[in-house]
Amino acid sequence: MGKPDAQPKAKKGGSALKKLKSTLKEAGVLGKHHKISKKKSATHRASALSARKEAVQTLRDLTSRQTNPFELQFTRTKHDVLNRKVKGAQGRPGAVRKRGEENRKKTLAVEMDRKRKESAFVDRRFGENDPSMSMEDKMLERFMKERSKRSDRGNLFNLEEEDDEELTHLGKSLSEDAFNDAGFMRVEDDEDSGQIDRNTVRYTHFGGFSDDEEVEGEDGKRKSKNEIMKEIIAKSKMHKRERQLQKEQDDELADALDAQLDDIRNLLVPSKTPPTERSTTTKSLTNEPSTDYADYDSFVRELAYERRAKPTDRMKTEEEIATEAKARLEKLERDRQRRMMGLPTEEEEHETRRKNDFAARKRVSQADDLGDDDYGKAVSVMLENEEEKPLTYRNGVLVNDQVFMSKKRKLEAASDDEDEDEDDEEESDADSEQSGDDDVNGSVESDREDDSDNDEEEDDDNETEEWQVEEIDEEFGEAHGDEDASQDEESEAEESAPTSLETNDAKPAQPRFKRNPDPSAASELPYTFKAPETHTEFLGLVKDRNPEDQATIIDRLRVLHHVSLGGNNRKTLETLLDILFEHLDYLCSQPTPSFKTIHHLSPHIISLSQQFASQSAEYFITTLTTLEKRLLKNLGSGKGSKAWPDLHALVLLKLVARIYSTSDLVHPVVTPAMILIGQYLALCPVVKGRDAAVGLFLCEVVYEYETLSKRYVPEVINFFGNLLSLLLPLEEHTTQAEFPTAPILEPNVTSLRIKDWSETLTPLSLASLCPQSEIHNLSLLNTSLHLLTRFAKLYTDTSTFSTIFSPFLPLLNRIPPSPLSTPAEKAINTIITISKTAPLKRRPLLLQKHKPIPIQTYVPKFDTHYSIDRKKRDPNRERAEKAKLKNEYKKEYKGAVRELRKDAAFVARKRLVETKQRDVEYKKKMDKIMGQLASQEGAMRGYEREMKKAKGKR
């Protein structure tokens, strides 16, 4: 019996009957049965009966457990897998049907039988059957009823809240404990809660139930009621006293705190409230507390809203200043490098990355969200823009309540810090002035600020004039750089004058003028000038002045009209820049231009151009375009040699190098300038000495442009080749100059060829750039050799260095022994040395070294969670869940339909049985009646027959 499953399998061979027999035998049902005899005693019989009963039970179990194989239903699987259990592979339809039948008999049949025979539940809840009432109304009505019912019932003596409902706030209970935790302890006269002590009730109410338990005193004696009462009274009195004491102490403490309030307040808001105000507030606080609470409240509110107290800015140490400067320079250099590579600067990149981040991870919506998608973004933008500005007090009055919480202007990231510094300093300055701080330096500074404020006064104030100007002068060098940094800042400065100029002390890395102070010259010059409107006015201003004085005049003009001084100064300075550009043109077009003047004016042009970067860029681009047009026109008309740029163009190209960052990959001004230079060098033929000098100047400008980025400029190399070929003696058996790697535009020019090598060497001067200047070919050669060496060094890292420079070697070797041998030698050596090292750096190119594209593999994809029972795993979790749900629903639906169908069949069957039964009964009844009637009829006929017989007899 132990393994019922194993048994049938072991004896598979036999017939069903044999199997049944053997099973019964094994169960011990068969053998015992025969031994029961009728002749045994009663006890025996009883035991036998019980055994029989047992056997019957066993048999029943057996049959229920051991199914007939004919009753089993198998589903054949296609692939047999060992140890795999498939649900529903083996079914017992008969058993299932039977179970279902039984279940139905228990439920459905019972229900059917009871139908229309039992009472039903009627829902009499209020408003349940009233369709005119809404759900809420119903609920409300029911609740009201419930309430009134309860109050009617009146739990009068139950002080405790009966229901478990609890008020909550933020998910926390508002019970007493929570309150106490929050520090809002209820101060009550009674120590205990409103409820009367259990013991008290027990002992005192209704005369006490003293009989139940004995209360014993300390002496072991039972106390009398009177004593107990007294004790209670005494205790309560003691408690009361204690509480009063406590309260008094608290009050005292509070008073003390009140007294100290102003001190604390001072600590919190340093030097915002002047002392006079402070005393009045104290008075008002102490004397008329009732009326001044509003004041106090507002103060508390302010404290809550205001930023926490923070330390004032301390002076920065030398080290810090140096580190800051270093960091700033490093950042500038990094930006430059990035631009050189053609990448966006760090800030730009951050900006874009930040934007991308936003797009990438949107905040997951939460319960409190109002449903707008941009909520997260909106919050962060708000936080970014809306920065609380500290409240600013002046004479105890809030001065900036308009600005308070207003949106902070968006400033350039670069100037952010500086701005804040400035703001703070401004405030603290103002404070120190107001509070009458007698700091000497402070007052001097503030005085100076005032002076710079209203410069009209200076005219009257002759005594102090010189001093002031010098002061301003000193500051100016620092101040102007500040404007360069950002234009926004200027506009801000205009709004919030007076700006302290000395704030810029923290930025020593800004460009400064390298100036040789010339006190004697300065003393002769007037200090104020009317800002010139036109170039003619400007000419009148600088007429008959030496170059240094002219520079000083412009310097002073710039100081007087510094942008931070507000007013129309920005416009004035822009005009000044225009005038300076015009003046530059004017200077260059003079028959004998003063290079010294140009030199001295140039720093101002540079810094003003940097200050008004877009304006100057526009000017440069327009001028470059004009130059380019002129060049094309000259080249087209065949005046090749005349196409070389004039002095003005040269100066402008040189200025570009100083104003703009020439190492950028793409630059709106520098790139066109560079193309223009290349065009000059490539297309203009060298015919005379001036051409060569101009070309060399351009090469030097190119060198300045490319010092940092070391970009390759083929035009320069070609120009050197051309020039050297023209300067140096011809090779044997040739009739015209030739350079192996580049064509020479005018190869037959002989005027440049050096014949006399023993001439004294004079350095090339700037004057040689003017037309009709005397130029020694020897000095041209000298300069070109130096420049060539420079360029060779610049292109040291070029992989094709030897290809580029080796054609120069035979040329240079043609230089005979002369004063120029040294630079020539130097150039040759440089080229040879670098050429020798260049191949070492040269590796075959590996430009196509990419990550190899993997070959498509046919290795089966393994699924770690694979199961043969599951058809496929949907990687999309949501979809998978949905599909699962759908499947379940379908299954349930089908099951329900099947059940319903079976129910219907069951009901029909049952009805049929009932009908049949009824019919049988009816038939029986009818038969019975008919039988009765027939017997009656028979009896009646028999009677009638009798009667007839009798009548007939009679």
Partner: protein, 538 residues
């Protein structure tokens, strides 16, 4: 005669209105025919205005007379001989005068005043027309002289040229005879020069037609000017406008109506022209016109081979230009040209990327190298050579070369080793000079395939960002990128590059500024440039 004399006396004071008056008189009254003599004399007057007026007037007078029939030889000679002996005499006299007039017109063709030239040509053409109608065929003898005078004209004005070509373009027979005559003239010149004229039975007339050697360049130039302006030969159906319309009654088709004949004279003329020795400039101009204006219309284009091959071997820009014609011959006329690629390779010299025919040449080279069946050593040699030249080229040329090379590399993956070469471990560290031999004329021997394109590295740091950007593309997987359309890059110049830079909308609000720590005057070195030597002293 008296009147003429009288007039002659006052000829110096006469004005243009007077001249017209004379002509009018001459036409109105028969007796005043002698005015013609006066007019002819006036034609040689100093004042150009009067000369012009009288010349035009005479032309008008003759035209009218001819129309009236006073002129006609036939009528004068045959029909009216007996009756009107006077008119015969007049006609004869008139004819004589007219030959003077024609000679005058010839001389006026080289008159310094363009209007005079044009008038002369017009009158000559009308004479030719008239004579042709009298002869009943095109009066080529006269026209030949016109052609000769025109091409040998020292001061050929633009207007005359225009007028001449207009006539030639309008009338098909004039064009035909122009080609014929010009070809003849050139042929005889060549014969003369070559000294073979002795062998030929040259008539004195023919000898006369050839030019002195010193005049030849001018003739060539003028001839080319005219030839290049003549419209292209047309199909037979389009022929039909003639200066001399022959009678339709004739059965035989005149030669001028045959397109084949036209083609023949065209070919002959051009071939004779091309045989002349030409200046370099003329050579280039001819070559420029070659593939469009000449080759398609020649009866036997292969006859050009000599000229083109000579030009191709000439070297320099001429070779570059000859390439185009040669290409047409090779592709369309089955010319087999040995060592074509070697010669093409030789054309890549230091000047190539600097000349203005650069784009034209590169277009052709692109075509030549478009075959994917070319050996990789050849393609590699071209690539390497081009990049080597690009090292010293203007940016506009580099902008063309780089996409060019890129396309070549893409087309010939065997050359990818030029930009990507994995070294075996023992080779590492043994780098020597570039194995490529620049001066080797044979692309098969220049070892380009063993080299690497280091030039690209250098050009990557070119000052123009466009170029460095283009070079960067070589670092991307070359198989995945599409080829460049070379047309986008061919026609660049400094001007276009500059313009595109200036017009570019600046991305940043303000240009990046220099970060020098101190601002000094421009003639003072700053930052890292401070060195021991100042190039220019203040």
């Amino acid at each position: 005669m008296v009147a003429a004399k009288r007039k002659k006396g006052s000829a110096t004071e006469i004005d243009a209105a007077g001249v017209r008056e004379l002509a009018k008189e001459c036409l109105e009254t028969k007796g005043k025919l002698n005015n013609i003599v006066t007019l002819l004399e006036l034609c040689e007057s100093e004042t150009e205005e009067i000369a012009y007026a009288s010349f035009v007037s005479i032309g008008h007078v003759y035209a009218t007379l001819l129309e009236r029939g006073d002129f006609k030889k036939r009528r004068a000679a045959r029909d009216v001989e007996e009756q009107d002996d006077v008119s015969t005499t007049v006609a004869k006299w008139l004819r004589e005068n007219r030959s003077v007039y024609v000679q005058l017109a010839f001389s006026y063709l080289s008159h310094p005043e363009p209007a005079m030239q044009v008038a002369a040509l017009e009158s000559l053409m009308s004479v030719v027309k008239d004579e042709s109608y009298q002869l009943k065929e095109f009066h080529n003898a006269l026209y030949q002289q016109v052609v000769e005078k025109c091409v040998a004209n020292d001061n050929m004005s633009e207007h005359l040229l225009e007028n001449l070509t207009e006539t030639i373009n309008t009338y098909d027979d004039v064009r035909y005879y122009f080609y014929k005559d010009f070809g003849k003239i050139l042929g005889s010149t060549l014969d003369n020069r070559n000294g073979i004229d002795s062998k030929m039975k040259t008539t004195s007339k023919r000898r006369k037609r050839s030019f002195a050697t010193d005049k030849l360049p001018a003739v060539i130039t003028t001839g080319f000017n005219i030839l290049s302006r003549i419209r292209d030969p047309v199909e037979e159906s389009e022929l039909g406008t003639y200066l001399y319309e022959s009678d339709s009654s004739r059965e035989k088709k005149p030669v001028v109506a045959s397109a084949k004949e036209h083609k023949r004279v065209f070919s002959e003329c051009w071939l004779a022209f091309l045989r002349q020795s030409m200046s370099a400039d003329m050579h280039k101009r001819v070559l420029l016109a070659m593939h469009k204006k000449i080759i398609p219309f020649l009866s036997k284009p292969t006859l050009l081979i000599d000229f083109l091959v000579d030009s191709y071997d000439h070297g320099g820009a001429v070779s570059i230009l000859a390439l185009n014609g040669l290409f047409t011959l090779v592709t369309e006329h089955n010319l087999d040209y040995p060592d074509f690629y070697t010669k093409l390779y030789a054309l890549f010299d230091k000047n190539l990327l600097h000349v203005k025919y650069r784009s034209r040449f590169l277009r052709l080279v692109d075509l030549f190298l478009s075959s994917s069946q070319l050996p990789s050593y050849l393609v590699a040699a071209f690539i390497k050579k081009m990049l080597r030249l690009a090292l010293n080229a203007p940016p506009a040329a580099i902008v063309t070369i780089i996409p060019f090379v890129y396309n070549l590399l893409k087309r010939h993956p065997a050359c990818l080793c030029l930009i990507h070469r994995e070294q075996s471990p023992e080779q590492v560290g043994k780098e020597a000079e570039d194995p490529y031999l620049v001066d080797e004329p044979n692309p098969a021997l220049c070892k380009a395939l063993e080299s690497s394109l280091w030039e690209l590295q250098t050009l990557k740091s070119h000052y123009l960002h466009t170029i460095s950007g283009l070079v960067r593309v070589f670092e991307e997987p070359i198989a995945k990128q599409p080829s460049y359309d070379l047309e986008d890059f061919l026609d660049h110049s400094y001007a276009t590059l500059f313009e595109s830079e200036v017009k570019k909308k600046t991305v940043a609000a303000s240009p990046a500024l220099a970060t020098h720590t101190e601002i000094v005057g421009i003639f003072e070195p700053v930052g890292r440039q401070i060195s021991d030597f100042a190039c220019f002293e203040l």
